[in-house]
Symmetry: C2
Subunit: 225 residues, 2 copies
DNA sequence: GTTTGCATAATTGTATCCAATCTACAATAT
DNA sequence: ATATTGTAGATTGGATACAATTATGCAAAC
C-alpha cells in the first residue's frame, strides 16, 4: 500500500506532452498580446525555440486554430488571428449575455472562501503597479466569481471566449480606462455577491462587459484600423 | 483587374489537407454515433483506413480533443468522450439559453428565402423514412433558422455545442420521441418566424430544447448507465 | 520605371523510423 | 493459491528526411 507518499497535482493530471507545453506557451503569448495580430508563427522557428521538431509544434497549432486564435494557410504559414471591430463587438455581446447568467447561478452557491479569494484578487489588482500583470489579475478575479456555479461547460465556453478577446481587454486596461475604473466596478460586483444579490451581480457584470466593449470600440475606431 | 473570372466555393476555401479530411470524417462518425462512447480511435488503424501515415491522423485528433469530442491519454490512446447525465444536462441547459437568443435575433432579419428553405427542411424531415437521415435534417432545419442572425461567433458556439450532444439528440429522435413530435414543434417554431414573432419563436425553441433534454435524461436513466 | 520569367530559398505537408511506456500474460517466489 | 516480477507485443510521442508548394530576388524585356 502507498503509505507516506505525497502526490503533487502534476502527478494527478496526465503528463504534459511537448505539444501541451507549446500550446500553452503560444496561447498565453497570443492572449497577452506578446505576439500581435497577424504575427507570423513559423513552425521551424517555434520548434527551435522549444528545442523540438516541428511535429509537436504542428499539433499545438491545430489546437490554436481550432480555438480560433490563429489562422493558417497551406504552404503560407500561420498568423495570429486578427479580429474586425464587428467580430470583437459580437464576442463582447456574447460575453455580456453569458457571463451574467453564470454569475447569477454562482452567487447562491458562493462560499466564504471564494468571496475572500475574489476580494484578494480585487485588492491585488488595485495594488498592482505593473500594467503587464493587470490582465492576469482581472481575469483571475472574474474566473473565481464564476467558479462556484459548478457548470464546467459554461465555464469552458466563457474561458475560450475570453481567450479570443483577452488582448483587447488588456488594451482597455493599459491605455484607455486605466485600472481605477475597473477596480470600482469589480468591487461593486463583489459586494453584490457578498450580499447574495444574484440579479444585481449579474446586472453589474453585464454593464461591466458592455462598458468595456464600448470603450474598446471607441478606442479602436480612433486608431482607425 | 479581375474581370469575368468565376470562382467556385472550393477555390475560395483553402485546399483541404489530409488532416482536414480525417478530422471531418471522424467528427461526423462520432456525431452520428457510428463510433460509440468509449470507442477506441487507434492512430495506426485510422491511418491505414485513409492510406496515410499517423501524422495527419494525430493532427485531426488534436482538433477533436480540443473540441471535447475525444479524450486521449499518453501511450494509452484516444477514445470517444463519454458524457455523464450531468454533463449532458448542463450542455442542454446551455443550448436552452443560447439558441433562443440566436433565433430571436434572427427572426427580424429572416428572408423569405430562408423561411422557404426552413419549410423545405421541415417537410423533408416529416417525409423522411430513413431514421439515419433524421438527425441530419433536424440539424439542418435549426441551423437555417439561426443563419440570418448574422452572428458568426454565436453560430460557431451553437454548432460546437450541438456537436457534443448530437449523438444523444439522435437517440431521442430514433428511439424515444419518434419524429412526429419533433415535426410538430418544428412547424410551430417556423410559423412563429413567419409571423415575425421573435419572442414566440425563442420561447418555442427553448421549450423544444428543454423537452428534448428531459426526454433524453428520462431515457438515459431507464437505461441506467 | 514597370513588368515578366526564372532560379533559388523558405516553408509547409507527409512518410518513415526510433524511443518511451503501457498492457497482458507467463514465470517465479512466498 | 496468491502476489510479484519479467518479458513481448502494442501503442503513442517525437525526430529526421523528403516532397510539394509558395515566396523572393534578380535579370531581361517592354
Amino acid at each position: 500500500m502507498v503509505n507516506g507518499l505525497k502526490l503533487r497535482a502534476s502527478d494527478l493530471s496526465k503528463q504534459a506532452s511537448s505539444a501541451d507545453v507549446i500550446y500553452n506557451a503560444l496561447r498565453d503569448a497570443i492572449i497577452r498580446g506578446e505576439i500581435g495580430e497577424g504575427g507570423a508563427l513559423r513552425q521551424d522557428t517555434i520548434a527551435q525555440m522549444f528545442r523540438v521538431s516541428r511535429i509537436p509544434v504542428r499539433e499545438a497549432m491545430q489546437r490554436l486554430e481550432a480555438q480560433g486564435l490563429v489562422v493558417s494557410e497551406r504552404h503560407k504559414g500561420a498568423v495570429v488571428a486578427s479580429l474586425s471591430v464587428e467580430q470583437i463587438t459580437e464576442i463582447f455581446q456574447f460575453r455580456a449575455l453569458i457571463e451574467p447568467i453564470v454569475i447569477e447561478m454562482a452567487v447562491p452557491l458562493m462560499t466564504e472562501k471564494t468571496l475572500a479569494e475574489a476580494q484578494g484578487h480585487c485588492d491585488a489588482f488595485a495594488a498592482e503597479t505593473d500594467p503587464l500583470r493587470w490582465g492576469d489579475l482581472n481575469r483571475a478575479f472574474h474566473r473565481v466569481l464564476y467558479r462556484d456555479a459548478g457548470k464546467p461547460y459554461f465555464l469552458s465556453v466563457v474561458d475560450k471566449t475570453n481567450d479570443l478577446v483577452e488582448r483587447y481587454v488588456r488594451l482597455v486596461l493599459y491605455f484607455v480606462q486605466g485600472m481605477r475604473h475597473a477596480v470600482a466596478e469589480h468591487q461593486a460586483i463583489l459586494d453584490a455577491c457578498k450580499e447574495r444579490d444574484a440579479k444585481g451581480a449579474a446586472e453589474l457584470t453585464r454593464r461591466h462587459i458592455e462598458l468595456a466593449s464600448e470603450t474598446l470600440v471607441d478606442y479602436l475606431r480612433t486608431q482607425k484600423r
